[in-house]
């Protein structure tokens, strides 16, 4: 694996990670995101419908929480999780947890970490964890780590210290086990930066983790509501400053467009794409503009449209969904609203996704009102494509030194 930076500007890193995957042919652009999956499948989407999306990232995120309980099956299968789930062409990153589903705190010990699957709690010591990874054979995997320091607010220094100590012990143990495993030679361990909100502990975690032969770094514990993120963003800059330039930095739990940009400016390279999934689950569609260089005629039309929609979404609305108590953001529209009943426009004018090329807001509204499964499928297609398009625009903006324009455009749409 080789990370080449083409540009570093205002803290943002633009570049490419090459020589990825079992054959060494894979590559990924940074800044970028990973394809979010649940139990090894993009939510709502079969291979056929996933293929319809433009700009799907080269790497998909799998979650151990959804796969650990299938350890036995995968061991017997022998050929690795990529083939098992029907995604052999994807690069695969295995995270511990599902960013959408925070797990109950209090289950990390000095010897083990637990994840929650459909069948209940799966407790993993370093040995068991590595055995599972051996069955999965992902390209990258998040090392076993203690991510609970950031669960309580404010973090106690003691708890922060423990999270760093434990995570380093797990890392060293896992690295030793990796040396002994032929199968896992082809997989890359991603070191996890912990330490809660305590600066010294974060710095210690970064410096110590960087000493180990990890392939990249996961910045854990920075997720939370917009308020906590602000304080954590300050920490983030200090942390990434301690990390080597030639290894990728992933962050978990950050998905909102404005927060993504903030993190990129603080040296983060890779993000998850659970955010478009959350938007889908609340019956919403991403409509925020990332066209920082629109043609003048369109600007007027689109601005009028956007302004109107921003006015209607003055306060953030709480929409309870089955999988998350997430609030609707100003980056989206709620297709359940009555005003879309006779709206025959596509979700986003000019969007070239399958949903926008073939269907109307009125149709999506109907599907939501009648609780039809197709609503989730079509919204997921659009929301993924829109989100991947956003990341593409970030890279383009960085390339042409126009990130400030994009940032301002996004800021105007954030409420």
């Amino acid at each position: 694996m080789k990370l080449s930076l083409t540009k570093v500007a205002n803290g943002c890193r633009l570049g490419k990670i090459k020589n990825l995957g079992k054959t060494g042919d894979g590559s990924m652009d940074i800044p970028g995101c990973l394809l979010y999956t649940k139990t090894g499948s993009a939510p709502h989407l079969t291979h056929h419908t996933l293929q319809k999306i433009h700009g799907v990232p080269a790497m998909a995120q799998l979650t151990l929480s959804s796969l650990a309980e299938h350890h036995e099956v995968l061991t017997e299968y022998k050929e690795g999780v990529g083939k098992f789930i029907g995604m052999p062409e994807f690069l695969l990153y295995c995270s511990l947890h599902d960013p959408v589903r925070p797990c109950p705190a209090g289950y990390v010990t000095n010897k083990s970490v637990s994840v929650w699957g459909v069948g209940g709690r799966v407790e993993m010591t370093a040995s068991r964890f590595m055995a599972i990874q051996q069955a999965l054979q992902p390209d990258w995997f998040q090392c076993l780590s203690d991510g609970e320091a950031s669960c309580a607010e404010p973090t106690s220094i003691k708890r922060a210290r423990k999270s760093v100590d434990r995570s380093l012990l797990f890392l060293d143990h896992c690295l030793r086990l990796q040396e002994e495993s032929e199968v896992l030679q082809k997989s890359t361990i991603i070191g996890v930066i912990e330490g809660g909100d305590v600066l010294e502990e974060r710095l210690r975690s970064a410096r110590e983790t960087a000493k180990r032969p990890v392939g990249g770094f996961l910045l854990d514990g920075f997720q939370g509501n917009p308020a906590t993120l602000e304080t954590r963003l300050n920490l983030l800059s200090s942390v990434t400053a301690e990390l080597p330039e030639d290894k990728p930095r992933l962050i978990s739990g950050v998905g909102r467009p404005d927060e993504v940009l903030e993190c990129i400016e603080r040296g983060v390279d890779l993000f998850e794409s659970f955010f478009p999934y959350q938007v889908t689950e609340r019956g919403c569609a991403l409509t925020f503009s990332f066209d920082y260089q629109p043609n003048p005629e369109e600007t007027l039309l689109q601005q009028n449209g956007t302004q109107e929609e921003i006015k209607c979404v003055d306060q953030t609305k709480k929409i309870k969904t089955t999988s998350c108590n997430q609030e609707m953001t100003s980056f989206e529209i709620n297709l359940k609203e009555k005003k879309y009943q006779e709206d025959f426009d596509p979700l986003v004018r000019g969007c070239s996704c399958y949903c926008c090329e073939n269907h109307t807001r009125a149709y999506i509204h109907h599907l939501l009102v009648t609780s039809e499964l197709l609503a989730g499928v079509l919204l997921m297609i659009h929301n993924f494509e829109h989100y991947f398009g956003f990341f593409h625009s970030i890279r383009e903006a960085l390339k042409s030194d126009r990130l400030a324009l994009l940032k301002e455009l996004i800021r105007r749409q954030a409420s």
Partner: protein, 402 residues
Amino acid sequence: MATASPTSLESAPRILRLVSECSRSRARAGELRLPHGRVATPVFMPVGTQATMKGITAEQLDALGCRICLGNTYHLGLRPGPELIQKAHGLHGFMNWPHNLLTDSGGFQMVSLVSLSEVTEEGVRFRSPFNGDETLLSPERSVEIQNALGSDIIMQLDDVVSSTVTGPRVEEAMYRSIRWLDRCIAAHQQPEKQNLFAIIQGGLDADLRATCLEEMTKRDVPGFAIGGLSGGESKDQFWRMVVLSTSRLPKDKPRYLMGVGYATDLVVCVALGCDMFDCVFPTRTARFGSALVPTGNLQLKKRQFQKDFRSIDPECACPTCQKHSRAFLHALLHSDNTAALHHLTVHNIAYQLQLMGTIRTSIMEKRFPDFVRDFMRTMYGDPTLYPTWATEALASVGITLS
């Protein structure tokens, strides 16, 4: 479509072109010519109740080879309503389906779904389950809604009684259905664009059914459905009514047997002379984790499939079978990712369409009876396990299962 001479008795368009007929049984292979393209028969039509084939896109359905599917007038009439659909350029425009659509009249749902419905000569009076409003679904109103939907085949409003009902109600419903057919024909505003089918009623009474057949075949419609079956009646009575119906229905018009979709039923009823079928079963059972195979079905949620790394059916060409194992689908079915359901919906529709295609090819190649024998052996294994009704029904049209 053929242009009609206003003075001819038989001015309804001949939408069915027969390509081949089985020399033993009553099976026929043909081609329907409909406004949105040709449809090979015999055909199975998946049911997309509310302007969607559940979790699969119009493009996926098209890729599976489906050229006609169903929409439900009752559901769509309530949500989103005919006016909105008309604004959206009809049901085709609303759901963006380029091929053919068949809508039923709303009659069956009126009776099966709505507890507080009342049938009078006027129509069916009922309360909307969504806003409690009282509405009357008359033959005229049903046709009006279906005209707005713009489907290629529309169904008359019939007076539907459950096949387990006996007594004078059955006779009343049969005669009323004839009168309602005439009212539908009179109310139909777009005969050039939409083909109105009659629905033969009469329950399980041979005399009533014969009367209905005699009367309805005097009417000038492009096709006939065999209704009032596929309810709770015994298979024994069921096939006899189908045979009676196909005996008396014109050969040059399509026969649509409503509500039939189990593989064995499809094969037998093709032998009995039916051309078109619809059923929620394949798509509904998919959403419960059941995959259809030539030997029956696989309940993929069951533990026995946990480590079964084979595809659902090695002979199946559908995207699900091309890419996925039973083991993966088992794991996915136990998650909350809806993709699992879509994989099975795709496969089950493919199974049904592939079955019909195989049936059709065997008719055209003059080996339909052999096909039937192979099918039964594969499905049931031992001839002693063949359902009696199927053996008898097939025998009645000259196909013996050894």
